[in-house]
């Protein structure tokens, strides 16, 4: 017993020695506590970040739902009524071609009836944006689309006329980054108008496209058409939201690791 004590405390255990040990233990304790605190803080931070991103995702999904429901009305009823009336009146003048008072008043009455019946159809879910800019960009999009249609016309003719007929039909799917139904429709119809590719279905923002061969599929996969359509409807801002949403997955991984 005495020997043991001698070995443990070779220079006769004193008060100083004991104090040093206690101090060391205290210091270690402190260090541990600080580490624990830091860890707790980090976990809290990550929790908040994950919650925030999931909230963003939830908001995004909700926005999509409202778009799908067509309840995303940004224009007031009166405004859409007036715009619809003016457009219908222009259409009437184009059709009728008679500008005497009798026919014009008939046109006004008919346009009023139709505008009353279906003014909420034409502007069911217009996003915030300048209509004139959209029209100008859409008109600028048409020549590009025409060029695309003509070149792929030649390509499909080459495929059909070459003796081997080197087609490789395939169905490809891609998630779109576009947000409103009108831009989906413009993209889908542009794809269908371009020879060699046909849009089969849009479901859950996923396009299902039939392509005649690998080259046309690859041409679609570059996403140039999608970018141009996004440009028309001023929907380029979605990219950043998507980036944030992707980070949430990384956060979840990190949290699991800790």
């Amino acid at each position: 017993m005495r020997l043991c004590r001698y070995f443990l405390y070779p220079t006769q255990p004193g008060v100083i020695e004991a104090m040093e040990v206690t101090l060391f233990i205290h210091a270690a304790d402190d260090a541990f506590r600080i580490l624990e605190n830091a860890k707790a803080q980090a976990v809290g931070l990550l929790d908040t970040a994950t919650r925030l991103t999931s909230e963003t995702r939830w908001m995004e999904e909700k926005k999509l739902q409202t778009i799908l429901k067509g309840a995303h009305e940004t224009r007031s009823g009166i405004q859409s009524f007036v715009i619809t009336f003016v457009m219908l009146m222009g259409f009437w003048a184009l059709l009728s071609g008679k500008f005497d008072a009798f026919h014009l008043s008939l046109g006004v009455i008919c346009s009023l009836i139709v505008a009353y019946l279906s003014h909420d159809l034409l502007f069911a879910n217009v996003r915030v944006g300048d209509g004139r800019v959209i029209v100008r960009r859409f008109l600028a999009f048409i020549p590009w689309l025409l060029r695309e249609i003509i070149t792929s016309n030649f390509y499909v003719a080459y495929l059909a006329l070459s003796p081997k007929m080197p087609i490789d039909p395939q169905i490809m799917r891609f998630k779109t980054k576009l947000e409103s139904d009108i831009s989906w429709v413009v993209l889908a119809n542009s794809i269908t108008l371009t020879p060699g590719t046909v849009t089969i279905d849009i479901a859950d923002r996923e396009f299902m496209v039939h392509a005649l061969d690998r080259k046309t599929a690859a041409g679609l996969d570059t996403g140039e058409m999608e970018d141009r359509v996004a440009h028309i409807f001023m929907e380029a801002d979605h990219i950043y939201i998507q980036d944030v949403l992707d980070v949430s997955r990384i956060f979840a991984e990190l949290k699991r690791g800790m």
């Binding site: 008919c110 159809l121 069911a124 139904d181 009108i182």
Partner: protein, 160 residues
């Protein structure tokens, strides 16, 4: 019952086209007295626009726009306009639908009265044809049972 479509492309295109379709139908009705077309053709186009709205946006949306009662009223009103104009000519001393007699009431010459009388008759025909076309389509698509009754009986909506 024809359920509403889930296809975004069809829904959106229908949404944009229906107002112009309806205006075109009214144009065909209104210009029936001196260009091809008339009450029947315009009424059919108008009924077709209703049918398009029914198969893309569903029955509830259409009912909100144009209730069943209004539709039936329009159908009867069309017949009333037609018969009324015809009888009016008869009362004024001409034959049935002899529009030139209307010049007394309208205060214009006989040729102009004929044109206006034809327009009125076309309007009546258009209303009736629209209402009847739509209700024939609707009856065939539902099998004669209104969606409200189907719901009351506990059937699934959108059942084909």
């Amino acid at each position: 019952m024809i359920g509403k479509s889930d296809d975004i492309i069809i829904k959106t295109i229908a949404r944009i086209f229906v107002p112009f379709l309806q205006l075109y139908a009214l144009y065909v009705i209104m210009h029936g007295h001196y260009s091809p077309g008339g009450g029947f053709q315009g009424g059919v186009i108008l009924g077709a626009s209703m049918a398009l709205l029914l198969i893309t946006h569903g029955y509830d949306e259409l009912k909100r726009r144009l209730p069943e009662g209004v539709l039936l009223l329009l159908g009867s009103l069309g017949v009333l306009i037609y018969a009324g104009i015809g009888l009016l000519c008869l009362i004024l001393g001409g034959n049935y639908l002899d529009y030139s007699q209307l010049s007394v009431i309208l205060g214009v010459d006989a040729a102009h009265a004929r044109s206006l009388g034809i327009l009125g008759v076309e309007l009546g025909v258009g209303f009736t044809v629209m209402a009847i076309m739509y209700s024939i389509f609707f009856d065939i698509s539902t099998g004669g049972i209104l969606p409200e009754d189907q719901r009351r009986e506990g059937r699934v909506e959108g059942e084909r």
